[in-house]
Symmetry: C2
Subunit: 186 residues, 2 copies
DNA sequence: ACCTGAACACCGTTCAAGT
DNA sequence: ACCTGAACACCGTTCAAGT
Protein backbone atom coordinates (compact mmCIF):
# COMPACT_ATOMS: atom_id res chain seq x y z
CA UNK A 1 0.00 0.00 0.00
CA UNK A 2 1.60 3.28 -1.10
CA UNK A 3 2.54 5.90 1.45
CA UNK A 4 1.85 9.59 0.67
CA UNK A 5 4.93 11.70 -0.07
CA UNK A 6 5.85 13.77 2.93
CA UNK A 7 8.44 15.92 1.21
CA UNK A 8 9.81 16.75 -2.24
CA UNK A 9 13.12 17.37 -3.93
CA UNK A 10 12.35 21.08 -4.04
CA UNK A 11 11.67 21.10 -0.30
CA UNK A 12 14.92 19.30 0.39
CA UNK A 13 17.05 21.59 -1.77
CA UNK A 14 15.31 24.62 -0.29
CA UNK A 15 16.03 23.47 3.24
CA UNK A 16 19.62 22.73 2.31
CA UNK A 17 20.16 26.21 0.83
CA UNK A 18 18.79 27.72 3.98
CA UNK A 19 21.09 25.71 6.16
CA UNK A 20 24.17 26.46 4.05
CA UNK A 21 23.48 30.18 4.14
CA UNK A 22 22.46 30.47 7.77
CA UNK A 23 24.64 27.86 9.46
CA UNK A 24 27.43 27.18 7.00
CA UNK A 25 28.30 24.30 4.69
CA UNK A 26 29.82 22.30 7.55
CA UNK A 27 26.45 22.22 9.29
CA UNK A 28 24.64 20.91 6.23
CA UNK A 29 24.03 17.40 7.55
CA UNK A 30 21.47 14.95 6.25
CA UNK A 31 20.00 14.91 9.72
CA UNK A 32 19.56 18.72 9.79
CA UNK A 33 17.88 18.66 6.38
CA UNK A 34 15.62 15.79 7.42
CA UNK A 35 14.43 17.64 10.52
CA UNK A 36 13.52 20.70 8.46
CA UNK A 37 11.51 18.82 5.87
CA UNK A 38 9.87 16.54 8.43
CA UNK A 39 11.23 13.10 7.60
CA UNK A 40 14.03 10.88 8.89
CA UNK A 41 17.48 11.09 7.34
CA UNK A 42 17.31 7.78 5.42
CA UNK A 43 14.24 9.01 3.51
CA UNK A 44 16.29 11.74 1.85
CA UNK A 45 18.07 9.06 -0.16
CA UNK A 46 14.85 8.45 -2.10
CA UNK A 47 15.33 11.85 -3.82
CA UNK A 48 19.05 12.56 -3.53
CA UNK A 49 21.95 10.27 -4.29
CA UNK A 50 24.09 11.43 -1.35
CA UNK A 51 25.26 14.55 0.46
CA UNK A 52 27.63 15.55 -2.33
CA UNK A 53 24.77 15.38 -4.79
CA UNK A 54 22.70 17.60 -2.51
CA UNK A 55 25.49 20.18 -2.39
CA UNK A 56 25.61 20.11 -6.18
CA UNK A 57 21.85 20.69 -6.36
CA UNK A 58 22.18 23.65 -3.99
CA UNK A 59 24.96 25.06 -6.15
CA UNK A 60 22.99 24.69 -9.37
CA UNK A 61 19.92 26.34 -7.86
CA UNK A 62 22.18 29.22 -6.82
CA UNK A 63 23.66 29.51 -10.31
CA UNK A 64 20.18 29.61 -11.83
CA UNK A 65 19.13 32.39 -9.45
CA UNK A 66 22.26 34.36 -10.21
CA UNK A 67 21.58 33.95 -13.93
CA UNK A 68 18.04 35.26 -13.48
CA UNK A 69 19.30 38.32 -11.62
CA UNK A 70 21.81 39.05 -14.35
CA UNK A 71 19.18 38.56 -17.06
CA UNK A 72 16.92 41.06 -15.32
CA UNK A 73 19.51 43.84 -15.58
CA UNK A 74 18.06 46.51 -17.84
CA UNK A 75 19.75 47.04 -21.17
CA UNK A 76 20.53 50.71 -21.59
CA UNK A 77 22.05 50.53 -25.03
CA UNK A 78 25.12 52.09 -23.45
CA UNK A 79 27.55 49.17 -23.17
CA UNK A 80 29.65 50.92 -20.58
CA UNK A 81 26.67 51.51 -18.35
CA UNK A 82 25.38 47.96 -18.90
CA UNK A 83 28.73 46.59 -17.79
CA UNK A 84 28.55 48.57 -14.55
CA UNK A 85 25.00 47.42 -13.80
CA UNK A 86 25.89 43.82 -14.52
CA UNK A 87 28.95 43.86 -12.28
CA UNK A 88 27.11 45.55 -9.41
CA UNK A 89 24.26 43.06 -9.65
CA UNK A 90 26.74 40.19 -9.64
CA UNK A 91 28.43 41.56 -6.54
CA UNK A 92 25.14 42.25 -4.77
CA UNK A 93 24.09 38.63 -5.31
CA UNK A 94 27.35 37.34 -3.85
CA UNK A 95 26.91 39.57 -0.81
CA UNK A 96 23.32 38.45 -0.36
CA UNK A 97 24.13 34.72 -0.48
CA UNK A 98 27.84 34.48 0.35
CA UNK A 99 27.90 30.86 1.49
CA UNK A 100 26.00 29.56 -1.53
CA UNK A 101 27.91 31.86 -3.89
CA UNK A 102 31.20 30.38 -2.73
CA UNK A 103 30.08 26.95 -3.88
CA UNK A 104 29.81 28.01 -7.53
CA UNK A 105 33.49 27.97 -8.42
CA UNK A 106 34.59 25.64 -5.63
CA UNK A 107 33.95 22.46 -7.61
CA UNK A 108 36.68 19.97 -6.88
CA UNK A 109 35.69 16.39 -7.60
CA UNK A 110 33.97 15.15 -10.72
CA UNK A 111 30.74 14.37 -8.90
CA UNK A 112 30.39 17.99 -7.81
CA UNK A 113 30.81 19.39 -11.32
CA UNK A 114 28.00 21.68 -12.35
CA UNK A 115 25.67 21.13 -15.22
CA UNK A 116 27.12 22.94 -18.24
CA UNK A 117 23.75 24.35 -19.22
CA UNK A 118 23.17 26.25 -16.00
CA UNK A 119 26.59 27.91 -16.19
CA UNK A 120 26.08 28.81 -19.83
CA UNK A 121 22.67 30.34 -19.14
CA UNK A 122 24.09 32.43 -16.32
CA UNK A 123 26.85 33.65 -18.64
CA UNK A 124 24.52 34.86 -21.40
CA UNK A 125 24.19 38.44 -20.16
CA UNK A 126 27.92 38.79 -19.67
CA UNK A 127 28.54 37.45 -23.14
CA UNK A 128 26.16 40.04 -24.59
CA UNK A 129 27.99 42.90 -22.89
CA UNK A 130 31.32 41.44 -23.99
CA UNK A 131 30.03 41.51 -27.54
CA UNK A 132 28.78 45.10 -27.23
CA UNK A 133 32.10 46.28 -25.86
CA UNK A 134 34.69 44.28 -27.74
CA UNK A 135 32.84 43.19 -30.87
CA UNK A 136 32.15 39.66 -32.09
CA UNK A 137 35.80 38.75 -32.67
CA UNK A 138 36.74 39.07 -29.00
CA UNK A 139 33.37 38.77 -27.27
CA UNK A 140 34.29 35.49 -25.58
CA UNK A 141 37.66 36.73 -24.33
CA UNK A 142 36.04 39.93 -23.09
CA UNK A 143 33.27 38.02 -21.29
CA UNK A 144 35.87 35.81 -19.64
CA UNK A 145 37.82 38.81 -18.50
CA UNK A 146 34.72 40.42 -16.99
CA UNK A 147 33.61 37.24 -15.23
CA UNK A 148 37.08 36.42 -13.96
CA UNK A 149 37.57 39.87 -12.51
CA UNK A 150 34.12 40.11 -10.95
CA UNK A 151 34.33 36.64 -9.43
CA UNK A 152 37.88 37.18 -8.23
CA UNK A 153 36.95 40.47 -6.63
CA UNK A 154 33.95 39.24 -4.66
CA UNK A 155 35.72 35.99 -3.84
CA UNK A 156 38.53 37.98 -2.21
CA UNK A 157 36.04 40.21 -0.47
CA UNK A 158 34.15 37.24 0.98
CA UNK A 159 37.43 35.73 2.15
CA UNK A 160 38.26 39.07 3.79
CA UNK A 161 41.47 39.10 1.79
CA UNK A 162 41.49 42.86 1.20
CA UNK A 163 43.46 43.74 4.28
CA UNK A 164 45.66 46.58 3.09
CA UNK A 165 43.05 49.18 3.89
CA UNK A 166 41.81 51.53 1.19
CA UNK A 167 38.28 51.85 -0.06
CA UNK A 168 36.91 48.56 -1.40
CA UNK A 169 33.91 50.28 -3.06
CA UNK A 170 36.29 52.57 -4.88
CA UNK A 171 38.43 49.61 -5.95
CA UNK A 172 35.34 47.93 -7.41
CA UNK A 173 34.27 51.00 -9.38
CA UNK A 174 37.87 51.49 -10.47
CA UNK A 175 37.83 47.95 -11.83
CA UNK A 176 34.60 48.48 -13.75
CA UNK A 177 35.95 51.67 -15.31
CA UNK A 178 39.27 50.04 -16.31
CA UNK A 179 37.42 47.05 -17.79
CA UNK A 180 35.17 49.27 -19.84
CA UNK A 181 38.13 51.32 -21.08
CA UNK A 182 40.31 48.42 -22.04
CA UNK A 183 37.67 46.19 -23.63
CA UNK A 184 36.17 49.00 -25.71
CA UNK A 185 39.54 50.31 -26.81
CA UNK A 186 40.95 46.99 -27.90
CA UNK B 1 60.29 10.28 32.12
CA UNK B 2 60.12 12.26 28.84
CA UNK B 3 59.41 10.50 25.58
CA UNK B 4 61.38 11.49 22.47
CA UNK B 5 59.41 13.42 19.86
CA UNK B 6 58.42 11.17 17.00
CA UNK B 7 57.15 13.89 14.70
CA UNK B 8 57.04 17.66 14.34
CA UNK B 9 54.63 20.36 13.28
CA UNK B 10 56.51 20.73 9.99
CA UNK B 11 56.17 17.00 9.34
CA UNK B 12 52.48 17.11 10.05
CA UNK B 13 51.78 20.11 7.84
CA UNK B 14 53.92 18.60 5.09
CA UNK B 15 52.01 15.34 5.22
CA UNK B 16 48.72 17.23 5.21
CA UNK B 17 49.70 19.25 2.13
CA UNK B 18 50.61 16.06 0.36
CA UNK B 19 47.30 14.44 1.19
CA UNK B 20 45.27 17.49 0.16
CA UNK B 21 47.03 17.68 -3.18
CA UNK B 22 47.11 13.99 -3.99
CA UNK B 23 43.87 12.72 -2.46
CA UNK B 24 41.76 15.82 -2.00
CA UNK B 25 40.66 17.87 1.00
CA UNK B 26 37.91 15.38 1.87
CA UNK B 27 40.53 12.69 2.43
CA UNK B 28 42.56 14.82 4.78
CA UNK B 29 41.70 12.93 7.96
CA UNK B 30 43.62 13.04 11.21
CA UNK B 31 44.07 9.31 10.86
CA UNK B 32 45.61 9.63 7.38
CA UNK B 33 48.03 12.31 8.60
CA UNK B 34 48.94 10.25 11.65
CA UNK B 35 49.79 7.20 9.54
CA UNK B 36 52.10 9.29 7.33
CA UNK B 37 54.03 10.84 10.18
CA UNK B 38 54.19 7.63 12.18
CA UNK B 39 52.09 8.34 15.26
CA UNK B 40 48.52 7.71 16.35
CA UNK B 41 45.83 10.26 15.62
CA UNK B 42 45.45 11.57 19.19
CA UNK B 43 49.13 12.57 19.24
CA UNK B 44 48.52 15.15 16.51
CA UNK B 45 46.59 17.23 19.02
CA UNK B 46 49.84 17.98 20.84
CA UNK B 47 50.88 20.21 17.90
CA UNK B 48 47.62 21.18 16.20
CA UNK B 49 44.45 22.49 17.79
CA UNK B 50 42.09 20.54 15.52
CA UNK B 51 41.51 19.61 11.88
CA UNK B 52 40.37 23.10 10.93
CA UNK B 53 43.56 24.51 12.37
CA UNK B 54 45.56 22.02 10.31
CA UNK B 55 43.78 23.12 7.14
CA UNK B 56 44.62 26.72 8.01
CA UNK B 57 48.29 25.80 8.46
CA UNK B 58 48.28 24.07 5.06
CA UNK B 59 46.74 27.16 3.50
CA UNK B 60 49.25 29.50 5.07
CA UNK B 61 52.17 27.37 3.96
CA UNK B 62 50.73 27.48 0.44
CA UNK B 63 50.37 31.26 0.56
CA UNK B 64 53.97 31.61 1.70
CA UNK B 65 55.18 29.42 -1.18
CA UNK B 66 53.13 31.37 -3.67
CA UNK B 67 54.58 34.60 -2.29
CA UNK B 68 58.10 33.26 -2.72
CA UNK B 69 57.43 32.30 -6.33
CA UNK B 70 56.06 35.76 -7.06
CA UNK B 71 59.01 37.41 -5.33
CA UNK B 72 61.40 35.43 -7.49
CA UNK B 73 59.96 36.85 -10.70
CA UNK B 74 62.70 38.89 -12.34
CA UNK B 75 62.17 42.62 -12.54
CA UNK B 76 62.69 43.74 -16.10
CA UNK B 77 62.12 47.44 -15.57
CA UNK B 78 59.41 47.10 -18.17
CA UNK B 79 56.21 47.19 -16.11
CA UNK B 80 54.16 45.65 -18.88
CA UNK B 81 56.50 42.70 -19.16
CA UNK B 82 56.71 42.34 -15.37
CA UNK B 83 52.94 42.15 -15.18
CA UNK B 84 52.88 39.32 -17.71
CA UNK B 85 55.57 37.35 -15.89
CA UNK B 86 53.84 37.82 -12.56
CA UNK B 87 50.48 36.65 -13.88
CA UNK B 88 51.94 33.62 -15.62
CA UNK B 89 53.85 32.63 -12.49
CA UNK B 90 50.69 32.99 -10.43
CA UNK B 91 48.77 30.80 -12.83
CA UNK B 92 51.53 28.18 -13.03
CA UNK B 93 51.51 27.90 -9.24
CA UNK B 94 47.75 27.36 -9.18
CA UNK B 95 48.07 24.66 -11.82
CA UNK B 96 50.90 22.97 -9.95
CA UNK B 97 49.01 22.85 -6.62
CA UNK B 98 45.34 23.17 -7.53
CA UNK B 99 43.86 21.64 -4.39
CA UNK B 100 46.00 23.73 -2.02
CA UNK B 101 45.56 26.83 -4.15
CA UNK B 102 41.79 26.56 -3.85
CA UNK B 103 42.06 26.85 -0.08
CA UNK B 104 43.56 30.33 -0.21
CA UNK B 105 40.41 32.31 -0.93
CA UNK B 106 37.98 29.70 0.37
CA UNK B 107 38.06 30.95 3.96
CA UNK B 108 34.61 30.79 5.43
CA UNK B 109 34.62 30.68 9.22
CA UNK B 110 36.61 32.91 11.51
CA UNK B 111 38.85 30.10 12.65
CA UNK B 112 40.02 29.45 9.11
CA UNK B 113 40.94 33.07 8.47
CA UNK B 114 44.49 33.47 7.24
CA UNK B 115 47.21 35.37 8.98
CA UNK B 116 47.20 38.91 7.59
CA UNK B 117 50.99 38.97 7.34
CA UNK B 118 51.28 36.02 5.00
CA UNK B 119 48.71 37.46 2.59
CA UNK B 120 50.39 40.86 2.68
CA UNK B 121 53.80 39.37 1.96
CA UNK B 122 52.43 37.43 -0.99
CA UNK B 123 50.88 40.63 -2.34
CA UNK B 124 54.10 42.65 -2.28
CA UNK B 125 55.17 41.88 -5.84
CA UNK B 126 51.75 42.63 -7.23
CA UNK B 127 51.66 45.90 -5.36
CA UNK B 128 55.01 46.86 -6.87
CA UNK B 129 53.78 46.23 -10.40
CA UNK B 130 50.56 48.08 -9.64
CA UNK B 131 52.68 51.04 -8.60
CA UNK B 132 54.86 50.85 -11.71
CA UNK B 133 51.84 50.75 -13.98
CA UNK B 134 49.32 53.05 -12.35
CA UNK B 135 51.49 55.28 -10.16
CA UNK B 136 51.34 55.74 -6.39
CA UNK B 137 47.85 57.29 -6.36
CA UNK B 138 46.17 54.17 -7.69
CA UNK B 139 48.71 51.45 -6.93
CA UNK B 140 46.42 49.71 -4.45
CA UNK B 141 43.40 49.73 -6.76
CA UNK B 142 45.55 48.51 -9.63
CA UNK B 143 47.03 45.70 -7.51
CA UNK B 144 43.54 44.65 -6.45
CA UNK B 145 42.39 44.58 -10.03
CA UNK B 146 45.33 42.41 -11.08
CA UNK B 147 44.92 40.00 -8.19
CA UNK B 148 41.15 39.76 -8.59
CA UNK B 149 41.39 39.02 -12.28
CA UNK B 150 44.22 36.51 -11.97
CA UNK B 151 42.58 34.68 -9.08
CA UNK B 152 39.18 34.71 -10.77
CA UNK B 153 40.65 33.37 -13.98
CA UNK B 154 42.49 30.41 -12.48
CA UNK B 155 39.67 29.76 -10.05
CA UNK B 156 37.30 29.36 -13.00
CA UNK B 157 39.83 27.25 -14.84
CA UNK B 158 40.26 24.91 -11.87
CA UNK B 159 36.49 24.60 -11.55
CA UNK B 160 36.33 23.78 -15.27
CA UNK B 161 33.92 26.65 -15.68
CA UNK B 162 35.22 27.71 -19.10
CA UNK B 163 32.89 25.54 -21.11
CA UNK B 164 32.07 27.71 -24.09
CA UNK B 165 35.06 26.51 -26.04
CA UNK B 166 37.61 28.98 -27.34
CA UNK B 167 41.27 29.13 -26.46
CA UNK B 168 41.85 29.52 -22.73
CA UNK B 169 45.54 30.40 -23.21
CA UNK B 170 44.56 33.15 -25.58
CA UNK B 171 41.95 34.42 -23.11
CA UNK B 172 44.64 34.60 -20.41
CA UNK B 173 47.07 36.54 -22.60
CA UNK B 174 44.21 38.75 -23.76
CA UNK B 175 43.50 39.55 -20.11
CA UNK B 176 47.12 40.42 -19.35
CA UNK B 177 47.26 42.74 -22.36
CA UNK B 178 43.99 44.50 -21.46
CA UNK B 179 45.12 44.91 -17.85
CA UNK B 180 48.42 46.45 -18.91
CA UNK B 181 46.66 48.80 -21.32
CA UNK B 182 44.01 49.99 -18.93
CA UNK B 183 46.15 50.35 -15.81
CA UNK B 184 48.92 52.24 -17.60
CA UNK B 185 46.51 54.51 -19.45
CA UNK B 186 44.47 55.54 -16.44
C1' DA C 1 5.79 3.50 -3.14
C1' DC C 2 7.54 5.81 0.46
C1' DC C 3 9.07 5.87 5.28
C1' DT C 4 11.48 4.13 9.39
C1' DG C 5 14.54 1.97 13.12
C1' DA C 6 18.47 -0.41 13.51
C1' DA C 7 22.89 -1.11 12.20
C1' DC C 8 27.67 -0.26 10.25
C1' DA C 9 31.83 2.05 9.09
C1' DC C 10 34.16 6.10 9.75
C1' DC C 11 35.65 10.43 11.75
C1' DG C 12 37.11 14.17 15.21
C1' DT C 13 38.24 14.66 19.73
C1' DT C 14 39.10 13.78 24.81
C1' DC C 15 41.45 11.71 28.52
C1' DA C 16 43.38 8.65 31.81
C1' DA C 17 47.19 5.68 31.88
C1' DG C 18 51.64 4.45 30.23
C1' DT C 19 56.79 5.43 29.44
C1' DA D 1 56.91 15.49 28.01
C1' DC D 2 55.05 12.95 24.59
C1' DC D 3 52.46 8.89 23.10
C1' DT D 4 48.66 5.55 23.22
C1' DG D 5 44.23 2.67 23.66
C1' DA D 6 39.79 3.19 24.83
C1' DA D 7 35.85 5.69 24.64
C1' DC D 8 32.23 9.12 23.05
C1' DA D 9 29.43 11.80 20.08
C1' DC D 10 28.39 12.45 15.50
C1' DC D 11 27.84 11.61 10.63
C1' DG D 12 26.77 9.32 5.98
C1' DT D 13 24.72 5.47 4.24
C1' DT D 14 22.37 0.84 3.72
C1' DC D 15 18.62 -2.21 4.26
C1' DA D 16 15.07 -5.16 5.92
C1' DA D 17 10.66 -4.44 7.72
C1' DG D 18 6.58 -1.69 8.09
C1' DT D 19 2.34 0.74 6.05
Amino acid sequence: MPTPERTSLADIVGAARDIVEKEGLANLTMQAVAVRVGVRAPSLYKRVRNREDLVRLVTEATVRDLGKQLDAVAVNGDARRDLGELCRTFRAFAHAYPACYRLIFAAGSEASRLDVGSLTAAAASVLRVGMELAGPGEALEAARMITAWAHGFVSMELAEAFNLGGDVERAFEYGIARLADSLATA
